[in-house]
């Protein structure tokens, strides 16, 4: 079971990118659908992203119990272990809330998760709001970026080249080890980017 975690601030484009990755995984397998489950944790009583993903034809489970900072990781581990025992999906994609620190999630999953052969963390950066968000919430943004194995600077079509270069340099300073790519989820994602998900580090 391979686990892909999408980190990134609210509105950065995580759900759109997950739709793209999920379609890629389905298409890659041809007629034989891969075993794919998407786990969603959202802020608020009503889930929106889960409905968007379900409308795309994907299997989605909601993690609504508790709040993002306390019991989520326990619920996540319980759900992952349940999936491993009952469904054994090939892929699990997890979208935490836009206020979550992926590092905490990874630590818990590594310690208590069963049957996970690989974890890939994709950090999604909102290029359009980068300067604004790094000013207002620097700790959270750095925490999200620094956890990524792959960093996708999304909405790159909405900023100019100079701004994009500045973002890239700041992101690199926060995370020297990750691969950094510029994308626009609304314009379509080069499927070679999703090929990199298979090359992530072993859990």
């Amino acid at each position: 079971m391979k686990l892909v975690i999408f980190g990134g601030f609210l509105g950065s484009g995580k759900t759109s990118l997950i739709l793209s990755l999920a379609h890629h995984l389905v298409n890659r397998e041809g007629s034989e659908k891969p075993s794919l489950v998407i786990l969603e944790n959202e802020i608020g009583e009503v889930g929106i992203d889960n409905k968007v993903l379900q409308a795309g034809g994907f299997s989605v489970k909601e993690l609504f119990a508790g709040c993002i900072c306390c019991t989520l990781t326990a619920d996540l581990v319980t759900t992952l272990n349940d999936l491993h025992e009952k469904i054994q999906p090939k892929w699990v994609i997890f979208e935490p809330t836009g206020l979550a620190y992926p590092k905490k999630i990874i630590e818990t999953v590594n310690q208590y998760g069963k049957g996970i052969e690989r974890i890939v963390v994709i950090a999604v950066v909102d290029a359009e709001r980068w300067e604004e968000l790094t000013e207002i919430t620097p700790g959270l943004i750095e925490g999200q970026v620094s956890s990524g194995d792959l960093i996708l600077i999304n909405k790159c079509d909405l900023v100019d080249g100079v701004a994009l270069q500045a973002i890239r340099e700041q992101v690199r300073a926060m995370n020297p080890r990750a691969e950094i790519l510029e994308v626009s989820a609304t314009s379509g994602i080069d499927t070679r980017i999703w090929g990199k998900v298979d090359e992530g580090p072993e859990a």
């Binding site: 601030f9 609210l10 509105g11 959202e42 802020i43 608020g44 009583e45 009503v46 889930g47 929106i48 992203d49 409905k51 968007v52 409308a55 508790g66 709040c67 993002i68 900072c69 306390c70 019991t71 809330t97 836009g98 206020l99 909102d126 359009e128 709001r129 980068w130 300067e131 604004e132 000013e135 207002i136 919430t137 620097p138 700790g139 959270l140 900023v159 701004a163 609304t186």
Partner: protein, 151 residues
């Protein structure tokens, strides 16, 4: 890019409200004073006669615009505003904004469909306002725009 300066926002008196998905500012940002207000509802809507998809979408876009513009005027930071709407024939419309543009996507049948019933799922996460104030403002915008729809 222009650097935006925002006023400091008082920490929510609820602080770390576990049952309402509202962790404290320190846990979120390592910086006090930035706890988001969250408005999140599902609202069933019914009309005596059918309403076209484009007509309903226009009203919901005005609603998101209204909340977005209010937040900008108050210098609040929009986490996100997201709306997912299903009509009676299970076509859907998806709106999203982070305080700038409004992204609008729909299923292929949405525009042509005419429906008497809709389910509106609406979530707004905004940093700055009090919880009660946000609820009041968003509910007002939703009600105003739904009331403007004439089948």
């Amino acid at each position: 890019m222009k650097v935006l300066k925002r006023k400091t926002v008082a920490l929510s008196p609820q602080g770390h409200a576990h049952g309402q998905h509202r962790p404290s500012a320190e846990e979120l940002f390592h910086a006090p004073g930035e706890s988001p207000a969250v408005y999140s509802i599902t609202k069933p809507v019914a009309f005596a006669q059918g309403v076209g998809g484009t007509h309903f979408a226009a009203a919901m876009i005005r609603c998101v615009e209204g909340v977005r513009d209010w937040a900008a005027h108050q210098r609040h930071l929009v986490g996100h505003i997201k709306v997912f709407i299903e009509n009676g024939s299970k076509d859907h419309l998806w709106l999203a904004s982070t305080g700038k543009r409004i992204s609008v996507q729909s299923s292929p049948g949405w525009d042509a469909a005419v429906s008497e019933t809709f389910q509106v799922h609406f979530t707004a996460i905004i940093f700055g306002p009090g919880q009660d104030h946000l609820e009041e403002i968003v509910a007002e915008h939703i009600q105003r725009e739904l009331s403007s729809i004439q089948p």
